[in-house]
Point group: C2
Chain length 626, copies 2
């Protein structure tokens, strides 16, 4: 290990080749750590360096990367996270997905900063990483199991109840394009099909356990932040009380809630499914990630008509939206069951929900019929049909085999102009926030390297007075000279604000820090300094995030993506069908202008390609295609 | 005054029309203060709003603006400064010049944030500002006096020895294009000809006195910074010990010292004139600005051959270079005398020195002869001739009338291709740092809105190991991921670094904070927050500086400036004549590429004109020409 390796890093990358069973470790040095930080930065770096353009994302040439950040495993709220990345089987571009739980902290304690999985095992295996060691183990007996049973079996056979497993259920095994990667039974690295990549490698799980706490350069500095969080509970109280989704009724009223595949604007049933109602009915308490005082994870249990296993946690807002209002379903018990099934099978609830919602709209339009669905009445609002689809998708049975491909590919197959209402960008389905309401959110969906994604795009949605939740975004925006402006046009000021706030999200994704913690830019830098010992600054982190965003862009450009792929589907240039909120449709020309100004601010040319000067400026010209 | 006016502001602008004698006050509100901050920001705002394009800078339509910042007058090192601005008679573009001393603190205590002087008095007057009042007073008896006598007379007739005066001597009265504005007898708002503008208005002085300390929102926060300065004396010790100019010998060795109008590269006489030698010979101590622990102002006295009045202070590095090595003069006593004369007459030592140096080179080339000079042997190294020229310039007598126009206009008159060695950008003479050594400094000279200027361009000169002084710039640059790289080419990374550091300078110029104090970006924001009570941030201040730089650009574009005006003279694309440091000549194409990438980063088009989107982004589209 390098002499001057900063606090927060182990300085070691674990590389596992499943084809030949080779396990190696590599050292990383301080300048590498400082330049790419971790998480999204490490993933973009290794994918650019090591994954050839044009490869099959579900072939052995793809690499599945788990990356922690310098803060991962520090005993402080928001520092439980790590990132999983690969070339996405859903989008064909770069993908990364963050997840909390305890896996990242255990992985860090096991002595590594990142894990690169290469090749493909010839039979099911799992990986066991513990205190500097890694073993490839047989997983024949695990194949086919749901996630809960998978982790239980591994814990039992390794005789260690503290093991944490990242794993797939049948959805990942069957390479559903949007299969997620579960961590424990209720935390998902949800988006981009990371579970499908794992399945394609015949890898069932990555189990971790470690005993060596990552060091911090300045424990007092960390302690100061712990105290600050304790003293500012009101900044995250709504998350502690309800988890995500408490302001859903207000969302519906203002037009932020996706209703029937984003077709409609009114959904009175929202009162029956939001997080406040959930708390009053099926909640059995809250859970949380390592060291986090927020504890935003809902736990639920119900018996009928659907029995829901509390081990799988409760539905997040995204899940309630995707399996609920987006499918026209207002049955909270069914939604909780759908959440349980997706977690058990390792399916991304967002893409699963919207693929089903899209199929429902096709069914209502007559583009799909009972003969396609095997007799299921796949109309909006049919909760049982929604649940049945999840089963079929996970096993790729019947129509499930088509729905497992995601809405863009379903639309390609179905035709009839259905692309116009396949609610996706870069083939990834939308999260549960309406771009017709928030144009910068729309811009975020357009330009996000991972396709439509709420983790790095959810910017000025909070400007609207729709939420009582702590307004972190407004707190960030006001010092920048931006006033809250709900429903406002997206001129250059909003584009610039979007860029600054998107950049902040990518700082968090490199550190890897939870977006729900109410830290400011300055606190990001302070916390990084406390852990690593670097004399870092807001300006440095801003540049690092620009670097990582541009690296992601480079990857996509290499795969053939262009400005044409940064577009919203036709649906959003029309008002909602039921006329609710009809004044909110987007203007294509306005969004295109915004996109091109964003390119300018990023140092990308009019085709969205990073300028050579920008690559040189950011010190990543060597990562561009030759 | 507005209810929520932040700490550090009085909320009042004093407007004095000298044509009709009208004195008015105007209120400014919190959002204005936050958007433009003060100093350079206020000046750019009022000049854009109120000064019509194409007006004569020495006519009554020009406005002379004194602007403090939110920190001015706070009892903390670096907070003594204010800014003076106008349309420049030297460049024809925007000008602003900062100055320390005690004037700004007194002005602030008098109850104002800025002073706008309009029109022209029909006879000499001075302005007396005290505790919220302002009077225009007769100055017939002051006209023709040197600066020291001017302040003494005013203090005496107003019976207040604490009065501070901003004033001109004969240089300003005679509208020497680069007449400065003296504050007390030894602090100058030096550049851009602010003294000529004051002279053109028949205004001899602005005398101020006040009793109301400006408030700070968080006195503990300010105190914290006072203590930090006390505990970190080593960061400014060389300035405290020697003032500016202690590393001059090293400058000469490495090629940073201008020698004989930037023509040559070797000057052994540097040993006789640098600040260390000065301290050992003619120094009689150090002085300083209001509340500043640095105390970097040299005090000197000598008797022969030239008697130097200690009241006028000693020469700064810029003065030693301009009147010394740039004129080939290695006589410290003569340089000190030249400094005294310039301060007495209100001449910018930099432009005066380089205008004389240029004339010397013309004389040596035979473009000027004894018949032009009235028999004076105007060759390099002639100290007596240098002093005589200062006298002639101030009074516009003989060849002094030509030299009072500055080197660009002298070259226009003389011809013979002398433009190539008129060392100026936008008709303003170079400060005493060599762009052949530091390419980002060269870029700074090119794009600075005020013409060649060291206050906002002196960026990576400190990368070189030429100085033992605290390396604030390196401390700023390292967290940005830039390594020190003396003599390096100027690729996109250095352009980006230049932009970030130039922006920091403009944050300081808006606050108005001294560049010599070793504060970081973060401390700028913390200090601003402590004084104003705003929850401000590095990112906000970065944007504010971008706004102000772009406003300056707007002013110049309106006056007809274009990318062609952002060029260095031909001299710098050749090596030095004496062959010393001959490997350091600049490459025109490289500098042009750097310039255009800088434009891109600023959001300016290829002609250097701010893009409409950028203006909208920064919220200053209303300030652009219709």
């Amino acid at each position: 290990m390098e002499q001057n390796l900063p606090g927060g890093y182990n300085g070691r990358i674990l590389r596992v080749n499943l084809t030949d069973g080779k396990v190696t470790t590599e050292q990383i040095n301080a300048s590498f750590c400082r330049k790419y930080l971790g998480g999204a930065g490490f993933i973009a770096y290794y994918l650019l360096r090591e994954v050839k353009p044009g490869i099959d994302p579900l072939g052995p040439e793809n690499k599945l990367i788990f990356a922690s950040g310098p803060l991962t495993g520090i005993t402080l709220g928001g520092c439980a996270r790590h990132t999983v990345g690969a070339k996405s089987p859903l989008t064909g571009g770069i993908a990364k997905s963050e997840v909390g739980e305890f896996w990242g902290a255990q992985f860090k304690r096991a002595g590594f900063d990142a894990l690169i999985i290469e090749g493909r095992a010839d039979k099911p295996v799992y990986l066991w990483i513990h205190n500097g060691e890694a073993e490839i183990k047989d997983a024949a007996h695990l194949w086919g199991l749901n996630t809960k049973e998978t982790q239980e079996t591994i814990r039992s056979e390794l005789a260690d109840a503290s093991i944490r497993a990242a794993m797939i259920g049948p959805g990942g095994e069957n390479m559903v394009k949007y299969a997620c990667l579960m961590h424990g039974p209720f935390d998902a690295a949800g988006r981009g099909g990371m579970g499908a990549v794992m399945g394609s490698k015949n890898l069932k799980a990555v189990a971790v356990r470690g005993d060596n706490m990552p060091p911090a350069a300045d424990n007092d500095g960390v302690k100061k932040m712990v105290d600050w969080l304790k003293e500012n509970k009101e900044l995250y109280k709504p998350f502690s009380d309800y988890g995500t989704g408490s302001p859903m009724a207000r969302f519906e009223e203002l037009g932020n809630l996706p209703i029937r595949n984003f077709r409609d604007g009114a959904f009175p049933g929202v009162a029956k499914i939001n997080a406040i109602t959930l708390k009053e009915t099926i909640s059995v308490g809250m859970d949380g990630c390592f060291a986090c005082p927020v504890r935003c994870k809902k736990m639920v249990a119900c018996e009928e008509p659907y029995q829901v296993d509390r081990a799988y946690g409760g539905p997040e807002y995204e899940t309630i939206g995707a399996l609920g209002s987006a499918c026209g379903v207002d049955d909270l018990n069914a939604i909780a069951k759908g959440s349980e099934l997706c977690n058990a099978y390792s399916l991304d609830t967002i893409s699963a929900g919207l693929s089903i919602a899209f199929a429902m709209e096709c069914f209502e339009n007559g583009f799909l019929t009972s003969s396609n669905t095997g007799g299921i009445d796949l109309k909006f609002g049919n909760a049982a049909a929604m649940l049945k689809m999840i089963e079929l998708i996970a096993r790729r049975e019947g129509i499930g085999d088509l729905l497992a491909e995601g809405s863009a590919r379903i639309a390609e197959k179905i035709g009839h102009g259905s692309e116009a209402f396949a609610v996706q960008v870069k083939k990834q389905e939308f999260p549960m926030h309406e771009p017709r309401l928030s144009k910068s959110l729309g811009l975020g969906y357009m330009v996000n390297p991972h396709g439509a994604d709420h983790m790095d795009s959810l910017i000025d949605i909070f400007y609207c007075d729709m939420t009582e939740q702590p307004n972190v975004v407004v707190a960030d925006a006001l010092p920048l000279g931006f006033e809250p402006a709900p429903y406002a046009d997206i001129g250059p000021r909003k584009v610039a604000l979007f860029k600054v706030l998107q950049t902040k999200r990518f700082i968090a994704d490199a550190l890897v820090l939870c977006h729900f913690l109410p830290y400011s830019y300055t606190q990001y830098a302070e916390l990084t300094a406390a852990v690593t010992g670097w004399d870092t600054s807001v300006m440095e982190q801003y540049r690092t995030a620009e670097r990582i965003l541009t690296m992601c862009r480079l990857f996509n450009v290499r795969e053939g993506f262009s400005a044409e792929d940064d577009r919203l589907p036709a649906r959003f240039f029309q008002p909602t069908r039921d006329g609710a909120l009809s004044n909110t449709s987007l203007d294509d020309e306005e969004m295109e202008k915004a996109k091109h100004y964003y390119y300018h601010l990023m140092g990308w040319d009019d085709t969205g390609k990073p300028m050579p000067e920008k690559l040189e400026e950011l010190g990543i010209d060597h990562l561009a295609a030759k």
